[in-house]
């Protein structure tokens, strides 16, 4: 373990970004974690002050700082509302990397990131096996939601109502694809992302159906790796770099106009974090920037490029929409998913606080489940109060969280990806 002066030195390098915070405290109004706890260490200003304290060697407890630093969803709401324009996400991710460099990666994370994520083949194999055996450990709770909860009181699972691994992940049904452009004259690369691949393959199928309907050619190379956000948010830049390398390798041979994803998190990771946080092969930087330019969320592609428009309400179900943080805060995509819902002929009902975080935040959900549940509970209440029959969103991670929350409240509502609604309409359902 490096000594604390060295740690301070590393944090000093963040100084230029840290001084931008004028300590106005306006982030208290938007941070979902602070809204629950009311503690200054849970809000951006407090966290930045702690990092500053380490940098200036005023603090002697890096472990304490690290613990507070991790009580954050990385939802980016504070950054998009900060009057001073502080690059909060940059700072937090770099700080986590410094901390991980200092403390080392936990054995569990090491096993997951370095053992599994870095090796997509093994990852697929393990989750395939997992899906065979999980029935032994779970029981169905809510058929409507398709959620299950733990049969035994497994420590990580707690009382979550989670979606199980699919028995047939997308990579089994469609190992790869390379189809020519149809009537649209366009071709897109499809980056699937792990949650869609392994838990919601039907979302991936919906995307493929929609692209086919619109005559869009699809390039879907096999062996796609995770986008790297789980590793990066745990400060494991080494794994992150490897994952970017793996993905760049997969996509480099295809010719395509755009790269689309159905996962808000993946889109923002590829667009914002690959260019900014990748520290691997410098020669790859140019290609990463080109790919970043081509990357967009599926709704954005449908509305901005294919120009689909709202349709008459066709007696379809009423739908409300939750803005995933990574679409709203990082990329400013809020109108297009709503347009897609309307293009599906659904009766759209806006919920209160549609743009606040659902409380998932990747590993935050695991490490701070109680807090995550409180934040998500409020989201579920807003969803239910909207009076809609279906909760739609654009991020599979949010779908997991919202499903868990609605299920626990016995809401008897479905949570769907917006693209599923649109695909259902095209399929004449």
């Amino acid at each position: 373990m490096a000594d604390i002066n060295k740690l301070a030195q590393m944090f000093k390098e963040l100084d230029d970004q840290l001084v931008g915070c004028m300590r106005c405290g306006m982030c208290q109004a938007v941070c979902p974690v602070f809204a629950q706890s009311g503690r200054e260490t849970d809000v951006t200003r407090g966290k930045l002050a702690l990092l500053d304290g380490l940098a200036s060697e005023m603090l002697t407890d890096p472990e304490g700082v690290n613990e507070k630093l991790n009580r954050c969803l990385l939802c980016g709401t504070c950054q998009s509302n900060c009057p001073s324009g502080v690059s909060v996400m940059d700072i937090f991710l770099k700080a986590r990397a410094i901390m991980t460099g200092y403390f080392g990666l936990s054995p569990v994370k090491k096993a997951i990131f370095r053992g599994m994520l870095k090796n997509p083949k093994l990852f697929n194999m393990l989750t395939d096996m997992g899906s065979l055996f999980q029935g032994l450990f779970t029981k169905k709770v809510d058929d409507m939601l398709g959620s299950s909860c733990a049969r035994f009181n497994a420590p990580v699972i707690g009382d979550r109502h989670f979606n199980t691994l699919s028995s047939k992940p997308l990579h089994k049904t469609f190992p790869e694809m390379d189809s020519a452009p149809g009537k649209s004259g366009l071709k897109v690369a499809f980056y699937v992302g792990c949650v869609i691949d392994k838990i919601f393959p039907h979302v991936g199928e919906a995307i493929l159906d929609v692209l086919k309907y619109h005559g869009v050619g699809v390039y879907m190379p096999k062996g796609q790796a995770c986008c790297g956000i789980p590793a990066l948010s745990s400060g494991d830049t080494e794994t992150f770099d490897t994952l970017v390398d793996l993905n760049m390798e997969r996509f480099k041979d295809g010719e395509f106009d755009y790269l689309v994803t159905g996962c808000a998190t993946c889109t923002s990771t590829i667009k914002e974090l690959w260019p900014r946080m990748y520290t691997g092969n410098p020669a790859l930087k140019g290609d990463i920037n080109v790919l970043e330019q081509k990357t967009m969320d599926i709704s954005q592609f449908l509305v901005d490029i294919l120009k689909i428009t709202p349709q008459e309400i066709t007696g379809g179900k009423s739908v409300t929409y939750h803005d995933p943080c990574h679409l709203k805060n990082s990329l400013g995509v809020t109108a297009q998913p709503r347009t897609v819902i309307k293009a599906a002929g659904c009766d759209f009902k806006e919920m209160a606080e549609a743009g606040t975080c659902c409380g998932c935040g990747g590993s935050f959900n695991i490490a701070h489940y109680d807090m995550s549940k409180k934040i998500g509970g409020r989201k579920a209440d807003n969803i239910m109060a909207s009076g809609a029959q279906i909760a739609a969103t654009s991020c599979p991670a949010c779908m997991l969280q919202i499903t868990d929350m609605l299920s626990q409240k016995e809401a008897s509502m479905e949570c769907k990806h917006v693209i599923e609604l649109y695909a259902d309409t095209l399929r004449g359902k």
Partner: protein, 462 residues
Amino acid sequence: MTKDAIVKEFEAIVGGENVMTSETDRHAYSYDAAVLDSVMPALVVRPETSEALGAATKLCNDNGLPLTVRGAGTNLSGGTIPHPGGVVVLTNGLNRILEINEEDMYAVVEPGVVTAQFAAEVAKRGLFYPPDPGSQTVSTLGGNVAENAGGLRGLKYGVTKDYVMGMEFWDVNGQLVKTGSRTVKCVTGYNLAGLMVASEGTLSVFDKITLKLIPPAQAAKSMMAIFPSMKAASETVAAIIANKIVPATLEMMDNFTIRTVENFRGAGLPVEAAALLLIEVDGHPAQVEDEAAMVEKICKANGATELKVAKDAAERDAVWQARRDALPALAKLKPTCVLEDATVPRSKIPAMIEALEDISKKLDLTIGTFGHAGDGNLHPTILTDKRDKQEWERVEKGIDMIFEKALAMGGTLSGEHGIGLAKSKYLEQETTRATLEYAHRMKSVLDPKGILNPGKIIGFRK
């Protein structure tokens, strides 16, 4: 008592999870929004009931522990920077709106209620709570009272003190003092509530506060007037008031701020304009029509080159967005942003603007000025980088000069941000030696051990 024993006692009062002793927790309560050095408290406690708030106050006094109450910590004068070895008492666990009385138009709140949330609840009942500090989405009503916070509507609707009808507060012995009432008129005893307004946590710990509510205006009209000089703009301000029109809001921006805001938002502000006035009149629809027409005439007569009247809610919003953008836009230019609030009589605004320009030239400092022209409350905003030692020295000098000028014009040190630590050294300059001594004598009786937010406003007795 040993520190451990004291921690145990606090835990018994507020519960274990509400006593924070770790280095990281304490560090997070060592600062506020003022550009001042931070000071770590020994302990942070977060009462969730009135009784616990009183008991915590008494425990501090019994042990001679300096006590700093903290709402949202957004004050700009160091009012919540703790005293070394002291205790920070958080009020954000006391955040219940206890009553909104529509018939008698008042509300009773706990001190930690967030201003904007309160205003929204009040609006839902068809009533209006006007004080709207720029920090209202996070600031607390307790903090507003303790700072006598004002906002954009100060000119016509007044500031927080105009809405405090009564309150309950804890004295250092943990006894509950009640003052004021729920009636519009009340002369029972000393006006202690009045004394507590702007006391910045140095005289008592506020508990429940009774606030006056009013009916909202039926109509409003906003406009933006463009001027070829700050002089013309400020003369217009004086002329509007002289014509017995009191707009709800009357805000000014200098050229530097206009350009910065335009770069930031690109909303089509006139970047060549030397000054902008943003004006809103409100009231009965007929009166609003009348006053808007008058204001328009006065602006033109005083040299406005252009005048845009908002036609609908969206345009009205755009006018106020420009004003709301002023601080964020300026704040992005440089790492450190010193927001001052020197206030002068309205007629002195042109002179004050000139003085600010002088200071900026003389000391080679970047200063953007905007503010509440209608009430003479200007916000010269100095943009700098605190790490640049030489420039920072000039900034400190600049601040001294700003106050000197404001005082020389019959103005005041602070229109709304409070004195705290930042400006206590100037207090005697604005008042008199006797004033300061009177305040110290009063404080020494109410707070004999001097535990309540030591050093703030009146400094330490010399």
